[in-house]
């Protein structure tokens, strides 16, 4: 079915790791705090290249976070990285008070995010951190769509001044943004123009959104717009409102709880500026579990199929005020034969 093109697969964590090395070459203020999972989150690339600028503090994420603040208040540009499950929650107080209130120039790499960490199971599948992090004043929050974008986003947060959190994942995922594509913090990428429904996604769900848009076109001649909203904070209000005005219906898609994440951020913008029917694709108020990464995304409803069905719901609501198909749980009947 697909006409969209990828040019291979790589993990976004590799983009983070390589971006860090590139940053380190350019700026000697870059230092990295290791919290025992350097090989997993790929800060090991930086450690190998710049051992003198790599400080290990062990499995102690609270201390890692505030140590990074001390380094930032000394003129360094520290990156601390661990799994999102530990880099955004057990150190939540440290992020709030010591990073954000201090407006400290600390960058956090939240790796192994979402369901796609896979067999490690629910304890390690962070699905809530976006909701917390985006409420913090001074925070910049980014969830890149693929390897190349993760690398650019890493460099971009290293070059900006102020707290930032980069959310990325473990498995190899399709590469479709090009090395020459521009990446600007806070500026959403319009990947596909459309007029019937707008799909706003980030992370691994951007690729799924592109697939859904293609299927909507093929099966229903629906022109779906696809926006890669990689920056959740500060969110690109202008792009969202323009797309809402153009399409009149919107679907958000993210590898995160449907509550409080990208869904909430987008809804807040539209409710204030241009309310339209919205549907949310994400994890539905439940914990994850062990399984293969893309087995889990199927089982928990994080694929193009849910986006596709949600787009139909949203368009139906736009046309009829309510949707008669809204209650149908199994989206398979809408995606049969595609």
């Amino acid at each position: 079915m697909t006409k969209i093109e990828s040019y291979g697969n790589k993990p976004t964590r590799d983009g983070f790791g390589l971006g860090l090395v590139e940053l380190g070459e350019k700026d000697e203020r870059i230092v990295v705090i290791g919290a025992d999972v350097s090989g997993s989150v790929k800060t090991s690339y930086f450690q190998d290249r710049f051992p003198e600028r790599f400080i290990s503090v062990g499995v102690a994420e609270q201390n890692a976070t505030t140590v990074a603040v001390g380094l930032a208040l000394s003129g360094k540009v520290p990156f601390f990285s661990s799994y999102s499950a530990f880099a955004a929650f057990r150190n939540a107080d440290q992020i709030r008070v010591s990073i954000c209130y201090n407006e400290a120039n600390v960058k956090i790499g939240g790796g192994h995010s979402g369901l796609t960490v896979g067999p490690d199971g629910a304890t390690h599948q962070s699905l809530e951190e976006v909701a917390f992090l985006r409420t913090l004043p001074n925070m910049t929050l980014i969830c890149p769509a693929d390897f190349e974008q993760a690398k650019k986003a890493t460099i971009a947060i290293g070059e900006m001044v102020g707290p930032a959190y980069l959310r990325f994942g473990r498995p190899s995922v399709p590469m479709f943004t090009k090395p020459e594509d521009e990446f600007i913090i806070g500026k959403a990428d319009l990947l596909r123009e459309g007029t019937d429904v707008s799909i706003v996604a980030n992370g691994i769900m951007v690729w799924e959104a592109l697939k859904a848009a293609e299927a909507l076109k093929e099966k229903h001649n629906i022109n779906a717009e696809v926006i890669n909203c990689h920056t959740i904070k500060p969110i690109d209000e202008e792009a969202l409102v323009n797309s809402a005005k153009k399409c009149g219906a919107m679907v958000t898609a993210e590898e995160h709880q449907v509550h409080g994440g990208l869904s909430g951020a987008v809804a807040e913008v539209l409710v204030k500026n241009y309310p339209i029917p919205m549907e949310f694709v994400g994890v539905k108020d439940t914990f994850g579990g062990s399984g293969e990464p893309f087995e889990l995304t199927e089982l928990f409803g994080l694929t193009w199929k849910e986006i596709y069905a949600s787009a139909l719901f949203a368009i139906d609501r736009k046309k009829n005020g309510t949707s008669s198909i809204r209650k149908v749980k199994d989206v398979a009947i809408y995606t049969d034969g595609i």
């Binding site: 230092v31 003198e52 600028r53 400080i55 503090v57 062990g58 102690a60 609270q62 201390n63 976070t65 505030t66 140590v67 990074a68 603040v69 001390g70 380094l71 930032a72 208040l73 000394s74 003129g75 360094k76 520290p78 107080d93 440290q94 008070v97 010591s98 209130y101 201090n102 407006e103």
Partner: protein, 291 residues
């Protein structure tokens, strides 16, 4: 308010002193604490009064290197008050060192003041190195600062940090201790204000943090136990830290045995003065003792 509160403009130099010279400094700081708190009508008098003697030597005895007219001086030593609720003693000390006008002590805890209830970096008060107040975080930030100087830049700067003893109940404090000891941060001086008081009662009764000396030794600190009201012992402890620093030795932990509310008879060693300000009458009595 019938009690008239004024702050003298007196500032003190940071230089080698005879021990009896600290009396006037400590007295002035203790007066400032009482005055600023009675005006604020909220805040913590006990801890600040107890740590005043240590602060007097640290800031006015040529222990720390700093320049009040250039608070961002790149070669300065740094001080972090991890026990952020003890802010009144830090504010008075900084004002008496000449970082900002002593008159500003009147604004403690008022809206828009640079003297926030707990130190806030966002208010840009000269001499404040970080926000603090969520216990256990300031000391870890101080460790990060010490790492920046010792591990990355390899310069001669020192970092001093004061935590409470109740604060050591925060697990994050021990993560910081482990990091400082493991990385052998010779330039790091951790001062524990050991008054054995916290909001709910005696530290010993609420949750014992003892034995302290052995704990810090086990975390690879050189531990010095002192009477935190004895200037000679305070000075000697800082001298030992200086020696440790010069010799690339272990990080230093000074356990300063103090009395909460020291200098005011009715507050002395009373944990209920952890977080309650004096009323006007109590302030008047306190100030009459601080002469």
């Amino acid at each position: 308010m019938s009690l008239e509160i004024n702050f003298s403009a007196k500032v003190f130099e940071n230089r080698k002193r005879k021990y009896n010279e600290y009396d006037e400094i400590a007295l002035t700081i203790r007066q400032d604490i009482i005055k600023s708190l009675v005006l604020a009508k909220s805040g913590h008098p006990g801890g600040p009064l107890g740590i005043t003697d240590v602060m007097s030597v640290l800031f006015f005895g040529s222990v720390m290197k700093y320049d009040p007219s250039n608070s961002d001086w790149s070669e300065r030593d740094r001080f972090v008050l991890s026990a952020g609720h003890m802010a009144p003693v830090q504010y008075s000390t900084l004002a008496r060192a000449g970082y900002f006008p002593t008159e500003e002590l009147k604004t403690l805890r008022k809206y828009g003041s640079r003297l926030q209830g707990h130190p806030g970096l966002d208010m840009h008060l000269p001499g404040i190195e970080t926000s603090s107040g969520s216990l256990g975080q300031g000391v870890s930030i101080a460790v990060g600062m010490a790492m920046s100087d010792w591990i990355i830049d390899k310069n001669d700067r020192k970092v001093f940090c004061i935590t409470g003893d109740g604060e050591l109940q925060e697990g994050a404090s021990w993560e910081a201790a482990m990091a400082a000891g493991s990385h052998r941060l010779s330039n790091f001086c951790w001062i524990v204000d050991n008054n054995d008081c916290q909001i709910d009662g005696r530290v010993t009764d609420i949750l014992s943090v003892y034995p302290l000396k052995e704990k810090f030794e086990a975390f690879n600190f050189d531990v010095i136990e002192i009477d935190g009201h004895n200037y000679q012992q305070i000075q000697a402890a800082f001298d030992k830290f200086e020696e440790n620093h010069k010799n690339n030795g272990l990080p230093t932990c000074i356990i300063a045995k103090t009395f909460m509310g020291k200098g005011v008879s009715f507050m002395n060693d009373e944990y209920k003065w952890h977080g309650n300000p004096p009323n006007e009458e109590q302030a008047e009595t306190a100030l009459s003792e601080l002469i």
